[in-house]
């Protein structure tokens, strides 16, 4: 348990021998065409099964299972809440005598507030205040509320604007993520894809009241409206129909290669791990919402010992004079695993982001694939 907690952001420390790690690293870093343990191409995702609207008590829900048995369920619930400015914000316009009380409740009521979206992640084996669940939920929430409106009114755009009912009332959204299985690999792609699907299937009851009245809703669930409007026909799409929930992709770099959706063994030898959140912009293109580095687990691995340093191999290899340089452990002996050190070059980061964002790239492919899941 304590071991699990210290390896917070890096997920679990892999139980692979230095020789296995070295073998994996070599095959994944082959220039041009990495060989992955399960035979996927660098940009290919693991096969998954998905279904939506599985929980009748929620506004929207989804389940995704990967072929390796990891499964996640997400439920989205919405509540109506009165809008109040919190105590730490003091609107200077309160002082302005020419300002009437009505217009002063102002911008928070129009553009929404990030705290209206609450997210909790439950991962078996972790307490809810452990680093990994907290880090994951902050990462997914920040891209969700970070996306802003398509136009100046803010209503058509990001999630925050959609939650506004009128100046005095808003929706509060609870997103509860449940990982049903042990986290066999870093659970970010699974949780992010499931959350995306659940938000796509989320419906809010149709509003019957108008303007600044207290909200009053149609009790016919059949006429409820999607939180993210679906495009019924592909012919005419208003800008707001392009807006989709963000999806966070896990990308690793090994050598010169950029690899998507790594499984547990692959992430164990990664040089750098990035979580990149993207969503569809107004024009249908992709836009970047956030990037975070994740501590690569390869820093925690055990180093291999080259034959020249191995006591059991004394005499079997020719003695070397450069014992001094070996003590610093800086040089690489080919085929002997060294835990990764240091960080990532800027060019590598740029390359990873470019692979995600480019037209017809992985980001678009993932968003299209999720769109294809039939929302019942």
């Amino acid at each position: 348990m304590s071991n699990q907690r210290q390896a917070s952001s890096a997920s679990q420390t892999p139980h692979l021998s230095p020789a296995e790690l070295s073998y994996l690293y070599t095959s994944l870093s082959l220039p041009g065409s990495p060989i992955r343990p399960d035979g996927r191409s660098p940009t290919q995702f693991r096969p998954l099964t998905a279904e939506t609207n599985i929980l009748p008590g929620t506004n929207g829900s989804a389940r995704i299972g990967f072929a390796d048995g990891t499964q996640a369920i997400v439920g989205v619930k919405a509540e109506v809440e009165r809008t109040t400015l919190s105590a730490d914000t003091l609107d200077a316009r309160e002082f302005d005598p020419n300002h009437d009380r009505e217009s002063q409740e102002g911008s928070a009521a129009v553009s929404g507030h990030g705290s209206w979206v609450q997210m909790s992640i439950e991962i078996p084996g972790f307490r809810d205040d452990d680093a990994l669940p907290v880090f994951l939920s902050e990462m997914m929430r920040e891209s969700l509320v970070g996306s802003v409106g398509a136009d100046e009114s803010g209503m058509a755009g990001g999630l925050k604007g959609r939650l506004v009912i009128n100046k005095r009332w808003h929706w509060r959204l609870y997103i509860d993520v449940l990982l049903l299985s042990q986290p066999l690999s870093y659970p970010l792609p699974l949780l992010s894809l499931t959350t995306h699907l659940a938000l796509l299937s989320t419906k809010l009851p149709k509003l019957k009241s108008q303007g600044e009245e207290d909200p009053f809703f149609d009790d016919d669930w059949a006429v409820a409206e999607y939180l993210y409007p679906r495009s019924s026909s592909t012919l005419k799409k208003s800008p707001s129909q392009h807006v989709r929930p963000p999806v966070t992709l896990l990308v690793i770099s090994v050598g010169d290669n950029v690899i998507f959706d790594p499984n547990r063994e692959e992430i164990a030898v990664a040089d750098a791990v990035l979580a990149i959140s993207v969503t569809r912009g107004e024009g249908g293109g992709l836009k970047l919402l956030s990037i975070r580095t994740i501590d690569p687990p390869s820093r925690l691995t055990q180093p291999g010992i080259p034959n020249s340093e191995n006591v059991n191999m004394l005499g079997a290899t020719p003695a070397e004079e450069n014992a001094l340089t070996q003590a610093t452990g800086e040089e690489e002996v080919s085929g002997v695993w060294r835990p990764r050190r240091g960080g990532v070059k800027r060019s590598v980061v740029a390359n990873m982001v470019r692979t995600v964002l480019k037209k017809g790239g992985v980001g678009e492919e993932v968003l299209e694939g999720l769109e294809g899941v039939e929302v019942v």
Partner: protein, 315 residues
């Protein structure tokens, strides 16, 4: 809710000092936003000193220069509300020390980071128990430092890094209502300060590192009333209290000697932003480069502070 039942806590809601409308109307400048006096690429001055906490194996104290308006308000206070705040934090390093018997074997140094805002650090009171944002900061800091420390030289040992934030940055100007770009931008400046201070404290504790890792922030800010009228500008080390809204911001932990980034945190929707003419980089690349430049600036201060601490131990 994580309520702390062992201590007598203050009211959860909190109150504000009274501001009289007459004061605000009389144009004394109380309700005027602080203006950035620095150049876009100019950082705030940093005060960094190591070894102030004798019981710890390494420690450091970091302070950002208060903005001009804050300095003026301190000399000649016109209101009970300070116009902006400046970062102050203390960092202690305990270890390397043996892991507890119950812990599993580790071939590397086990790093534990703990970031805590003092209850009085921000305008709104913080509880004694770390909340989600403080834990999140702890993970970011751990990622930044783990890349720099040569961990395999201390098998079976642990290193505790504790940061107490005495005064935090604001997320926006205190009199602004949150707008659509609102997020916890102050946290990013705090993280950059944490990285720089922790790096100095680790050097003070004589723990082997690849390089001194420094933190830097760059942000795209828009100061216009109308967001669409002008392109947002790239500012290094932006103080959120000085700008109308921040479109996007980026923190890095950077090691100049290796030209490598150990921690990168970029957030904000910069899709509609554009750079000046002739700049071919995409917006996120420009942000990243800006943050690296800011980190280079912080690194010079860091190197000087570490040299000072070394001279103190030698002679």
């Amino acid at each position: 809710m994580m309520a702390d039942r062992r201590r007598v806590n203050g009211p959860s809601g909190g109150t504000r000092p009274a501001v009289f409308a007459s004061l605000a109307e009389s144009g004394t400048g109380v309700s005027e936003r602080a203006q950035r006096q620095r150049q876009p690429s100019e950082l705030r001055k940093i005060f960094l000193k190591t070894g102030l906490i004798p019981t710890a194996s390494g420690s450091s104290y970091l302070e950002f220069e208060p903005s001009a308006s804050l300095a003026a308000a301190r000399i000649n206070p016109k209101s009970l509300i300070p116009p902006s705040s400046a970062l102050k934090l203390a960092c202690t390093v305990h270890g390397p020390k043996p892991l507890p018997r119950s812990a599993a074997f580790s071939p590397n140094l086990v790093l534990t980071t703990h970031v805590k805002y003092a209850p009085f650090a921000a305008r709104k009171r913080r509880g004694h128990i770390r909340d989600a944002s403080e834990r999140d900061l702890g993970v970011h800091l751990e990622t930044a430092l783990r890349g720099a420390i040569i961990a395999e030289r201390w098998p079976k040992s642990g290193l505790d890094i504790t940061i107490t934030i005495l005064e935090a940055e604001d997320d926006r100007w205190w009199a602004d209502a949150p707008d659509s770009h609102d997020a916890s931008w102050g946290m990013m400046n705090v993280l950059a300060g944490c990285i720089t201070a922790a790096s100095a404290a680790i050097a003070d504790a004589h723990i082997d590192c690849l390089d001194l890792v420094a933190g830097g922030v760059a942000a795209l800010v828009s100061d216009e009333e109308k967001q669409s009228s002008a392109a947002p500008k790239l500012m290094l080390d932006a103080d959120p209290a000085e700008h109308r809204s921040i479109v996007s911001a980026c923190v890095v932990a950077y090691m100049p000697a290796r030209d490598e980034i150990t921690e990168l945190w970029l957030k904000g929707d910069s899709s509609k932003a554009s750079l000046e003419n002739g700049d071919k980089r995409s917006v996120h690349e420009a942000l990243l480069d800006g943050a690296v430049d800011a980190a280079r600036g912080a690194h010079t201060v860091l190197a000087e502070a570490v040299r000072e601490s070394l001279l103190k131990t030698v002679g």
